[in-house]
Symmetry: C2
Subunit: 280 residues, 2 copies
């Protein structure tokens, strides 16, 4: 799928795509879990609100993380590619335990950060143990292959989805967000049909996949994660489908996971919450 090698790296930090609209006040389970992974009270969190058009987005997350008791939460509002050379902000990134990418438009993230020191620093620091979470557009951007935009609808059609290179923390998963809220199975299937190498991860709102260094994904939040595993795909008509044609796919494996459920992206085995609890 990609020319680069994504070798297993036990020192890597968590990769945490969130489906958008995560609960922020009443019971912010996902943000709290992220803070916990980053060291709790000792955690230094950097927020990158580049995807958002709203000035207040970054500051809002600074407040949220401060309320969760972190040691430091810093807003890094990279707006231009020139901003990505700012040494003071890069220093914050290098010292952070966790980075949080807000929602908005994933193409703002890829066009602003792509090929800059910020993109490189995020990849290097994640490989060295820093955790990176992103919500909505921020989630889409984390992987090597990102869904830029696409059409709604449950079944796949040729050309219904536009792919683009993402941040590249992993190429194992292909993420889609607001999954049940915006009816995105068709576009995720279409994206996977181009090359059934990756695993589709459809995130409902207020639902996160905590992907461990060992590439086990655990569900946190109130929604579901739809895992689309095309590894046993025996037929695809994607190569011959014309524009807007429906696409034929035979043998796609589906798992719907809820909070506590797990999926190992290497063995491709899904575990229900109860089973996962028993094995701990």
């Amino acid at each position: 799928m990609s020319g680069r090698d994504f070798v297993e790296n036990p020192n890597r930090g968590f990769i945490v795509p969130i489906g958008g609209a995560e609960e922020k006040y009443r019971d912010p389970a996902i943000l709290r879990e992220f803070v916990e992974r980053c060291g709790g009270k000792k955690a230094r969190i950097a927020i990158i609100p580049t995807a958002s058009r709203l000035e207040e987005t970054g500051r809002k997350y600074v407040e949220l993380f401060e309320e969760l008791g972190v040691r430091e939460a810093t807003n890094l509002p990279f707006k231009t590619r020139q901003d990505c050379d700012r040494d003071d902000w890069l220093k914050v990134l290098r010292n952070a335990d966790g980075v949080f990418l807000t929602g908005g438009n994933q193409l703002k993230l890829s066009t602003t950060l792509g090929g800059t020191k910020v993109g490189r620093t995020l990849r290097e620091r994640n490989a060295a143990g820093m955790h990176i979470a992103g919500t909505s557009a921020g989630a889409a951007y984390l992987s090597e292959h990102m869904i830029a935009y696409g059409d709604e609808g449950s079944s796949p059609r040729a050309d219904m989805v536009q792919m683009a290179p993402g941040l590249g923390l992993t190429n194992t998963v292909l993420v889609d967000q607001h999954f049940r809220q915006r009816d995105r199975l068709g576009r995720l299937l279409t994206a996977l049909a181009y090359n059934p190498f990756a695993i589709g991860v459809g995130l409902d709102e207020d639902t996160a996949a905590f992907i461990s260094p060992e590439d086990t994904l655990e569900v946190v939040g109130t929604g579901a994660i739809t895992i689309v595993d095309p590894s046993q795909l025996s037929y695809s008509s994607m190569d011959s489908a014309k524009r807007h044609d429906p696409v034929c796919l035979i043998n796609v494996r589906l798992h719907i996971l809820i909070g506590g459920g797990r999926f190992n992206t290497q063995t491709r085995i899904a575990t229900a919450p109860e089973e996962a609890r028993q094995r701990r």
Copy 2:
């Protein structure tokens, strides 16, 4: 799933659920194929427009079938349960080669025809070789277990779908229609999760499943059919899910079939259009 036995019956007629909005004028491939199965120029077709609130629905289909060159097309507008005792209309049903149920509201079909001579005649005649097609609400109604209504969204949630007994031509499949147009994977998965005995058949608009007496399903039309096969389901949280909770499902098999594709509901093997052609 059902107390009744649905034994294999090589004399049975075709069962043809259609996803709604089938093409009627330019290239009415589905209606033409149905007429062909019913005997072409010799075919006597009865139309049951009970699901529809519109007076003209039945007459419109009479015209459509006449344009396709059938010998006889008769509108049987059963409006009340009393209508279902009309001997003249029952006689038309008994002599028909095919019956077509229009769209509208499937609960109008089940509440009007359920437990009447019409329901019984349809089942008996289908078992003896008469073909029965239904579009939209008419498609939903064909099976033993019918989706009455439900919520939109890709991932399943407890209580998001309301089941009701249908006509009962088969209990092997559970049909949902307007599938990609109305985002119905979640409700189909929810319906199957109650009892993963049946196979989910999600029909896009202008797409039909021609289910043969041997229980092989063939796709006709311009959209896709999403086959949801839960036979290898290894875990479901449906029994413990509270209202509106997301539901965990592990190991659901999915096939997206397009025109010419096939699925054998007994062996549960899907065949792509090319493969199906080669085997003929």
